[in-house]
């Protein structure tokens, strides 16, 4: 089985976000960017499936600016076999909506024919929590969201999901889209030799146009503002 892992380049979770004074957005120039933390968990899970002999190949894919290459190299250094970068924006401040990302990923799935897609539950920048579900809809596949446990058994997978009331376990038909939650695993760090090796792993570059997907946004950002501040107390 091939596993596809979409990874997003986002602002590092330790960085304090600054809203631009003119309300046009968040300042992303010269801030530290990293792989979305949930996506590290997804990559880790894919590697564990491979180590357990349940997956043969792991393909990481990112949609966004050219710099998302670095994010893909991180995935390769962790243990992904190959990567696909779909350049769909040329400015770091331009984000691609989940619907457009899902449409591109659907095309990648058509081409790559993975048996499983492991996504993050949400990207920590826009907090949409949508891409995996949208991809499942477009492909007509089953979805197991917010996974804290995953067991793959041939043509089905058992997923324990973190839900409002506690935990729900469901069985999904393969191929499936699984979105991962924080407690699924603890991602490994890439070792130095693996970082070196990752530089030689294949990284294909494509564009949104190659897949014939229109990435024009459906939502127009009118403004971005700071939330009302709380005064410190005693």
């Amino acid at each position: 089985m091939k596993v596809l892992v979409p990874v997003k380049r986002v602002i590092d979770y330790n960085v304090k976000v600054r809203v631009k004074a003119d309300g046009s957005g968040v300042d992303l120039a010269n801030v530290k960017m990293s792989m979305n933390p949930f996506d590290e968990i997804a990559v880790e899970e894919a590697i564990r499936l491979k180590e357990a002999g349940k997956a043969e190949e792991i393909v990481a894919v990112s949609v966004g600016v050219k710099q998302a290459q670095e994010t893909l190299r991180t995935a390769l250094a962790m243990g992904a076999d190959r990567a696909i970068l779909v350049v769909a924006a040329d400015d770091v401040h331009q984000d691609i909506e989940p619907l457009a990302v899902a449409k591109i990923l659907a095309k990648v799935v058509e081409e790559e024919q993975p048996g499983l897609v492991l996504c993050g539950k949400q990207a920590i920048d826009n907090d949409m929590n949508a891409t995996g579900q949208m991809l499942a809809a477009l492909l007509g596949w089953s979805q197991g969201t917010f996974a804290s446990e995953l067991t793959v058994d041939g043509d089905s997978a058992t997923v324990t999901r973190e839900v409002d009331g506690g935990l729900q376990t469901i069985k999904v038909k393969m191929p499936a889209i699984i979105t991962v939650d924080l407690r699924l695993n603890e991602p490994r760090y890439a070792s130095l030799p693996n970082i070196m090796k990752a530089k030689k792993k294949p990284l294909d570059e494509k564009t949104a146009a190659d897949y014939g997907v229109d990435v024009a946004p459906r939502l127009e950002v009118v403004k971005t503002a700071e939330p009302p501040a709380r005064a410190a107390g005693i």
């Binding site: 907090d127 579900q133 839900v163 469901i170 459906r218 005693i234």
Partner: protein, 308 residues
């Protein structure tokens, strides 16, 4: 135009708080038609009909919808979609599972966690763990969105909308329910409680977390936790408050042994009064707290329990 509002129904019971707050948001957009679905949903529908401002309630009862699996419920919603300008639901884990699937099937974007309605096309939503509020205008023909209920008031009860039973759909056969692990509790529900007492890594162990629970019970409060407390096994996952857990805005929030990382603040900084107990006076939680107590929690909390 009419709004289709997906009620939160769990095991046949209506989650009144979440649903009635979503009604308040939806009312600003048009006539509100509520959909109640589940293996049993009739009682929930009768209850939803009493929410003020609801024009009609639709009931789709079928074992297929019993555990709110995304695929059949999304298919049902899509089959009902024509004629509605907006399809909305409270931001629960069920809705977050289902609504993006609905949106993609309709070829529209999802608006997640809406905290403000400007007009029928324009909405506010938090991004970057609530560190920025984005105003977005949708160009889609139908707006599919989830509503962050902690920012909307409860719609009053006292309505008497008609209830209509509707046909159910086919089973896409993609997933099946196996089991639920739900902890029964007499405490108030976390997202609607007036008082929340939360513990963090500072509490130190699952055994000592009983101290947090004891204080909560004295106050008739719900219990929350930081991610670190949940990851360390002190508390169950559904107690997590924050960017990736639950968002709460009680009248009183007491944070004990919690440092105040932005991801935690994202889930509680709209609380009316915040009290923090932490032994480190530099802890960032004190920057948002109305009342801060620099103390060892193992001294302060038992003293507080005794004083109450």
């Amino acid at each position: 135009m009419a709004v289709l509002l997906i009620a939160e129904v769990t095991d046949g019971a209506l989650a009144l708080d979440a649903t009635a707050k979503a009604v308040t948001a939806a009312k600003q957009l048009g006539d509100v038609i509520v959909l109640c679905t589940g293996a049993s949903a009739k009682a929930a529908a009768d209850e939803a009909a009493k929410i003020g401002g609801v024009s009609k309630v639709l009931v789709a009862e079928d074992a297929l919808y019993g555990h709110r699996l995304a695929e059949p419920v999304a298919a049902l919603i899509v089959s009902l979609a024509s004629g509605y300008s907006h399809i909305v639901a409270p931001s629960t884990t069920d809705a977050k599972n289902i609504m993006p699937r609905v949106a993609a099937l309709l070829d529209v974007m999802i608006l997640s966690d809406v905290v403000g309605v400007i007009d029928a096309d324009t909405f506010e939503r938090p991004i970057y763990a609530g560190n920025a509020i984005q105003t977005v205008k949708s160009t889609d023909s139908v707006k599919v969105m989830t509503i962050r209920t902690s920012t909307f008031d409860l719609a009053p009860t006292g309505g008497s909308a008609p209830v209509e039973v509707i046909a159910t759909g086919d089973d896409p056969g993609l997933s099946e329910w196996v089991e639920d692990k739900v902890a029964a509790s007499d405490r108030p529900e976390l997202t609607s409680a007036g008082v929340v007492v939360s513990g963090g890594r500072g509490v130190g162990s699952e055994t000592d977390f009983a101290l947090i629970e004891k204080l909560a019970d004295k106050l008739g409060a719900a219990v929350g936790a930081s991610r670190a407390a949940v990851d360390s096994g002190f508390a169950p996952n559904d107690w997590q408050v924050g960017q990736t857990g639950k968002v709460v805005a009680p009248d009183l929030y007491i944070a004990i042994g919690i440092s105040g990382a932005i991801q935690h603040l994202a889930g509680m900084k709209d609380s009316k009064i915040i009290v923090a107990i932490n032994k480190d006076e530099e802890a960032p939680i004190f920057q948002v707290a109305d009342f801060g107590l620099v103390a060892d929690l193992f001294v302060a909390v038992p003293a507080l329990i005794d004083a109450l």
